[in-house]
Symmetry: C2
Subunit: 194 residues, 2 copies
Amino acid sequence: MTEFSAIIQNVSRFVTLTKEEEQLFASLLRTQKVRKKQFIVQPEFVCQYRTYIATGALRSYFVGNDGQEYTIALAIDDWWISDFTSYINQEPATLFVEAVEHSTLIQISYQNEQTLYEKVPKFERFFRIHSQRGAAAIQKRMLWSISKTAEERYEELQKKYPQFLLRFPQYVIASYLGMTTQFLSRIRNRRIKE
Amino acid sequence: MTEFSAIIQNVSRFVTLTKEEEQLFASLLRTQKVRKKQFIVQPEFVCQYRTYIATGALRSYFVGNDGQEYTIALAIDDWWISDFTSYINQEPATLFVEAVEHSTLIQISYQNEQTLYEKVPKFERFFRIHSQRGAAAIQKRMLWSISKTAEERYEELQKKYPQFLLRFPQYVIASYLGMTTQFLSRIRNRRIKE
DNA sequence: CGAAAATTTGACATGACTCAACTGGAGTGG
DNA sequence: CCACTCCAGTTGAGTCATGTCAAATTTTCG
C-alpha cells in the first residue's frame, strides 16, 4: 500500500477518496522500474498507460522529418507524463517518452482507467481537472515560446524550475526551450560574464 | 428548445443524454448576442462563462508587454472558446476574447456548471473528454509552431482550416501563425506567383 | 465620398541557425 | 590505472529567415 501513497496524495489534491476507493484505485495500478535511456512510449505503438513518476525524470519529445528533436515535456517526481493524444484516442503515438534517469513509475492502463470511471465516477472529475490544468500549462508554454526571446525563455526556466537545469542535460534543456545547444551554450556564457 | 439543439448535438458526440437531462442542461444555459469587436472576456476580470458559438466567429488573444498581440485560438460555429484558465480557476483572465463577427453564443456560468455536475455527473465525462481533446490540440499546435517555418505553417492552416482564411482578417491570421502581417503578405505573394 | 483601417512593398537589421573544429569528462577495456 | 573512444559542451565564422521601420496602396464602412 505504501508504494501508492504518493499517487493517492496527488489525486487527493482534487477529489476526496474513501479508504475503499483508495484500495480499488491501488488495485488497478502497476509499478514499473525503468532504466536511464529506456523508452516507455514510441511512435507507431499505441500508448498503453497513463504514467505517474514516483521517483526519477522523464521527457517526451517529437522527432521532425529533418531528424531534429523537439522536447514537449519534462517531468520529475510527482508529475504525470505520456503521449496523451495517443493514450486518450488509443491511436499510434507520435512522441517518444524516455527516461532521463533511472525511474520508478506508477501506471494505469487504458482498460483499467475505464473500469475506474465506472466504479468510481469521481475519477472523471480528477482527470477532467487534471487535463484542464495540463491544457492551461501547455498554452502558457506556447505563448511563452512565441512571445519571448531565447534568452528570456532560459531565464524564466531558471527562475521557475531551477531543478530542471540540474537534472536534465543541456541538449535536452535546449530542445525544450526551442533552440540549439550551441545557442544555449552562448547564452549561458553571456550570462555568467554579467 | 430548438435554439439549444446544436449545443446538445455537440455534447451528444461524447455522452448520451435523456430528454430530462437535455432539459435540465438547457435550463442552465443562456443565449447571448455579441457584435463585432465586442469583448466577452478581458484581462483583470474573472471569466464567468464557458462559451459555445452557435453562429459567428471569435478569437482569444494575449497582449504582451510590448503591446504585441498573440492570438491563442480562432473559433467559429459549433466550437467552444473562453479563457479556460481563468474560468476553471475562477481567477482574473489574462486573455481577451473578442467577437470577430456578429455572433450568437450559448453560455453556461461557472455556478451552473457546478450544479450540472451534481445533477448529471455525465457532464464530468463530457468536459473531461473535451478538455483532453483541447489539450491534445494545443499540444499539436505548439509542436507545429516550433518545428515548422512560417510558410509551412501558413500552408497547413490553408489545408486544414481553409474557412479561417475567409472569415478572419489577415492580421489575425498572422498573429495566430506567429508572424508579422508584413511577412504573411510576402508569403501569400510568393505563393500566388508559383 | 472620405477617413480610418488593412494590406502591400522596399530597404535594412538582427536573432538564431549551420557547419566545422576544438575541449574536456566519463566510461570502457586491456 | 593508463590509453582510447565517445559524447556533451564550447567557440568562431558565415548565413538566412524573419523582424523592423517607413511609405505607398487598397479596402472597408460610416
